[in-house]
């Protein structure tokens, strides 16, 4: 009887350890803690080019993450990308003339949307639109422009 009891205790400890490990993986290792950031409101912005932006990319203001991208779609008439983002309810005082720009974290890092606040007294609410946007910088285009300007310089010197 005692033997049975110790065996049960050990099996219980094993299963508890396994579930603790799963819980640890879910909470500490994965992004579950970032997912449950509560309700928010959706705002959309149109970009000419979103570069490498993906769904779940961060939305940051002054470098602080305030939301994330929830949907990226394409407008067939204007040929623009429509990016929908979810911003936390705790950040509900974003002026409606806010400027949205796609930045890259580090030289090769992931891309995110940076918001620069405007001066308006009106705030963005659910379904609000950001009209002032700047596209992602595409590295090839910059290099192309650089080479082009260099070539022009060389031409004018002769």
């Amino acid at each position: 009887m005692v033997q049975m009891r110790t065996m049960e205790i050990m099996v219980g400890a094993f299963m508890a350890a396994g579930f603790v490990a799963l819980f640890f993986l879910a909470m500490q290792v994965s992004n579950l803690s970032n997912l449950t950031e509560g309700d928010g409101y959706h705002i959309t912005a149109r970009f000419d080019n979103i570069g490498g932006l993906k769904v779940r990319s961060p939305v940051a203001m002054a470098g602080v993450r305030i939301g994330r991208v929830t949907k990226i779609s394409f407008d067939n008439t204007t040929y623009e990308a429509i990016v929908t983002m979810l911003v936390d309810n705790s950040h509900n005082t974003i002026p409606d003339d806010t400027f949205a720009k796609i930045y890259t974290a580090g030289l090769l890092g992931e891309q995110y949307i940076g918001l620069d606040p405007g001066g308006s007294e009106e705030f963005l609410t659910e379904g609000g639109k950001i009209s002032l946007t700047q596209s992602a910088l595409v590295l090839e285009e910059i290099i192309g422009q650089f080479l082009f300007s260099k070539a022009e310089e060389g031409g004018s010197n002769e």
Binding site: V11, F14, M15, G18, F19, F24, A26, S30, N31, L32
Partner: protein, 258 residues
Amino acid sequence: MEQLARLGRIGISSLERLGRGHLLLAHMFSGVTALIMRPTLLIAQIHSVGVFSMLIITISGLFVGMVLGLQGYYILSQFGAEETLGVMVAASLVRELGPVVTALLFAGRAGSALTAEIGLMKATEQLSGLEMMAVDPIKRILTPRFMAGLISMPLLAALFSAIGVIGGHFVGVGLLGVDEGAYWSQMQSKIDLHEDIYNGVIKSIVFGFVCTWIALFQGHDCIPTSEGVSRATTRTVVHSALAILCLDFVLTALMFGE
């Protein structure tokens, strides 16, 4: 002609084995309802399959994580990206090494023991004895072991991954001086609950299923002599390892290929 007949014989006998294996699986599943009425049988098997494997799993997990921390640090520091060490350690553990290495260890530690146990029961006619007493040996002996393997394997794999992440933390942050905040925050931002962790758990459930099935089938199907049991035990380890590695490729292609 003789060669052709031999080829045919090999084909037929391997098909027969496959069929017997599936019949055994179906028979084992039919015993699940009876097992729920007697959970003590299951607990005793989880004890021998899971609890006894815990030590080897935790120690291997710790060292695999520590090696990943070391190797990852040396490679990543060449690109000046030591901060992503956490992502590398966690992703490789949760996606691949956790389920696969756990399953390989599980096949060696628990699978071979199961085969030898069942094979010896068959050789000493204990299984026939049970049948004489009108007890179904498959439902009474094999089903609890099968369910125990199925339950233990994902838990062991989770334990392996979690300990590995801590081992990587110990080497990366403790010894090599990676920033602690970066280790965890980069990990948390890159490792996805569904994409990485759920898929890792699914992998380990599949491996647990296959490993235990192979082990029990080999034990049940062995030639009831000491040589037959030893051969069956070898086959268990070889077949399990091959099945795990092949299935891992298929599962990875299905899960992570877009």
